[in-house]
Symmetry: C2
Subunit: 213 residues, 2 copies
């Protein structure tokens, strides 16, 4: 049960399990079994059981899984029992849209700062947060104890922003710009690129739907 050996793919499914379990809880279901959970998440029962087995023995044979317990356990594994502090860098349309999005708050994250280098935006406030400039970003990130940064900057500015964010002590970056980031060992980056996803969808159209996604 050394969780250094939880497979990557399992980790990537944990958020979906969590979402389904919260939904089950909202529906007053005290228990789920691997079958029903699999159906809710779009997987299969064997996958569910195998995934959970990497985290420990979480269920009861003959019965199933206790929804509340399982939520607690997964939240602990994901490290979101206490809210994680996040910041948005790049307060353009996209950054602004993300700041207004309530989903982060419901899923374990609190946006505690926003940064941009546009003089006309710095100092203005949005959703209760003041927009900071990029000059003192390292200091502000440290002062506010920011753990995760969402980069919503223009492509050309992104690597530079990432460098500052890293030197501000941040160890996890969600990059929304279509650029490969160069970061030191020990900093985790996840890349989200909608154009990439559209291109993958286009491939499936080109195949006439003959392949699964």
């Amino acid at each position: 049960m050394e969780n250094a050996q939880v497979p990557q793919t399992t980790i990537q499914r944990l958020p979906a399990y969590l979402r389904c379990l919260l939904q089950a809880q909202a529906n007053q279901m005290p228990l789920v079994n691997s079958n029903s959970l699999a159906e809710m998440c779009g997987t299969n029962a064997a996958q569910v059981r195998k995934d959970f087995s990497y985290l420990g023995e979480l269920g009861t044979r003959g019965i199933g899984y206790d929804v509340g317990e399982l939520i607690g356990h997964i939240s602990r594994v994901l490290g979101i029992v206490e809210r994680r502090r996040a910041a948005i860098v790049g307060f353009g349309k996209l950054g602004g849209a993300l700041l207004g999005y309530s989903g982060f708050g419901e899923r374990g994250f609190e946006i505690v700062a926003v940064f941009d280098n546009d003089r006309s935006k710095i100092g203005t406030s949005a959703d209760g947060l003041m927009v900071h400039g990029m000059d003192d970003i390292e200091r502000v990130l440290r002062e506010l104890d920011v753990e995760i940064v969402i980069l919503a900057t223009p492509a050309a500015a992104t690597q530079g922003a990432a460098d500052k964010v890293v030197s501000g002590g941040v160890k996890a970056i969600l990059n929304l710009a279509p650029v490969l980031l160069n970061v030191p060992e020990g900093v985790a980056v996840r890349q989200v690129c909608l154009s990439t996803d559209l291109q993958i969808l286009s491939f499936h159209l080109a195949q006439g739907g003959k392949t699964d996604l």
Copy 2:
């Protein structure tokens, strides 16, 4: 070279290759080899060669790959030689931000319509497009020959919107709402959920960076 057997993982890397190749082209590089391309994309040379081998014999031994040819070939495989017609459903902050994003146009997609069911938005125009209501969405999707839809709707409205989109003949959906979509066989869905990515990053923080992402 039956491309029904191009591995999923290879397909998912093609957009990144394409991006790097376009960059190489912009830098006046007529040729690349598997090493340099791997470096640009953050993979390794063996992976690059294997991936391309699924698409045919695209390179020249002793020389490398012709950048222009390779761009053409990958674009063809991805089905983006001619622009694909896309629409955005849900014209909230996120939908609005996406409409204003120029990256889609540069990567093979044209946003040809926007939909929302908010009375106060319908009929207004944004970025040269009029916002349509949801009532006649099937008809409009067909008239404009929309191939791909981006769902940027509130969670609760998403499945309903997806159903209409599907009955409008659309076979590819990019879903930005945190809900598992139920769609008929033959419709491709890709799910993007930033909260999910943040949770995965949180896991890595919880592990103290001991795991790769």
